[in-house]
Amino acid sequence: MSERPLPWAMTLLRRELRLSMRVGGGAQVGVLFFLAVVTVIPFGLGPDMNLLARIGPAILWIGALLATLLGLDRLFQADRDDGTLDLMLMAGRPLELVVLTKCLAHWLATGLPLVVAAPVLGIFLNLQPLAMGAVTLTLLVGTPALTLIGAIGAALTVSLRRGGLLLAVLVVPLAIPVLIFGVSAANAALVVGTPFRAPFAILCALSLLAAVIGPVASAMALRFSSD
């Protein structure tokens, strides 16, 4: 075979990114929701700056988790509704890699903006620069895990109308370890004496693990859904 390695994956990535950026793609919805969640919390908690700074990383992480869940239900459903999924199943490309590519595009369009927005929103929560950096870094390595785990839920609920809520119920328990280690790594910047490297390493491991299990499980679910 003289073809370059995986040119089809690049084509798919480019198309997915285009689709999410154009009208109706919904790439901006997640980051707007993130903004809304994080900005209302200081109003609810009142003007206790120390409290805000202490729970800031947790708020950012929970906001990122909810914002990620928001856009996930369309990950495969949009393709199923117009028949694209059928053709992808018979395209002769490994479905696991197709799913991984779609997740990568989805993360670039919806997850990465959350990471970029996190330092700005950190200001709202009275985070110190070090804590801001820690949260941003943990979100950078942790949000791919959320997308990849969420893909399993998206694949399982692909044939359901209004599967978004069921998706959240399925995905949230699986996302809890990511949340725990993400927040505890970020907290290391706030509380003197707490370790950073151990929870951060586990967070990285969770993302890597999700990059294997997510596409395999989603592909399996999608193959059954075409019936």
Binding site: W8, R15, R18, V23, D82, G83, A91, R93, D227
Partner: protein, 229 residues
């Protein structure tokens, strides 16, 4: 020599046996026209051949195809859904399928890839290439979906009601193109209610084996299945 063999195929949909014991074979350059009333399982048969619905019993083989690839990966599925993204232009839609689908060109099949511009031109929608597909009419969207079959050569065409939403002129054009595909050594399996003058072709008429399983005359539950199945 390319040959599609189906032996004793049985399909269940939603816990109901659609049909069983269906056997047929199809040589390269031949068309198989599947007829039968609504709900009899024409779409299910095509979806099974496309690898989207696993058969409950029986086997499906392709002789003379590329090894290590399933019959479905030698096939184009042209169904009720167009797989066209309204946010992308007609050309972007088509270019994606050209690069994403893996072409299948076994020896007996002499089909060749058509350039995307030429394919759109051939189907009479060349002037819409730069338009977002959202602005295309139903018939134009259908023709855009059809263009996919030409930019990525594959020998088997599975066509479910290929003439729906097409006007008389496009129907005649489609027929010519389908006939060309047969001449190049491709094969076509189509479910249709309108007679298609393809040569050489055979007709496979699906009938309910058990009169009790016959779809009801008003066709209501079964026509629903046609739409959603």
């Amino acid at each position: 020599m390319l040959k599609l063999l189906a032996e004793n195929i049985a399909i269940d949909r939603g816990g109901r046996r659609v049909f069983s014991g269906l056997s047929f074979d199809l040589d390269a350059g031949h068309a198989l026209i599947v007829t039968g009333q609504n709900g009899i399982g024409k779409s299910s048969l095509l979806r099974t051949l496309a690898g989207l619905v696993p058969p409950t019993e029986g086997t499906l083989r392709l002789q003379g195809g590329e090894t290590e690839r399933s019959p479905a990966e030698h096939a184009h599925y042209f169904g009720h859904q167009s797989a066209v993204k309204p946010a992308l232009t007609a050309l972007e839609n088509l270019e994606f399928w050209r690069d994403f689908l893996q072409p299948a060109r076994p020896q007996a099949f002499s089909g060749f890839p058509v350039a995307t511009d030429a394919a759109l031109e051939m189907l009479g929608i060349g002037h819409t290439a730069r338009l977002p597909a959202a602005y295309l009419s139903a018939g134009q969207t259908r023709r855009l979906a059809l263009a996919r079959l030409f930019v990525c050569p594959r020998p088997i065409w599975l066509m479910d009601e290929p003439t729906s939403a097409l006007d008389t002129a496009s129907e005649a054009l489609l027929l010519t193109l389908m006939q060309d595909h047969l001449t190049h050594g491709g094969m076509i399996l189509t479910a249709t209610h309108t007679p298609l003058a393809l040569r050489p072709s055979r007709t496979l008429h699906l009938e309910a084996a058990d009169p009790a399983d016959m779809p009801s005359a008003d066709g209501e539950p079964d026509s629903l299945e046609e739409i959603y199945g």
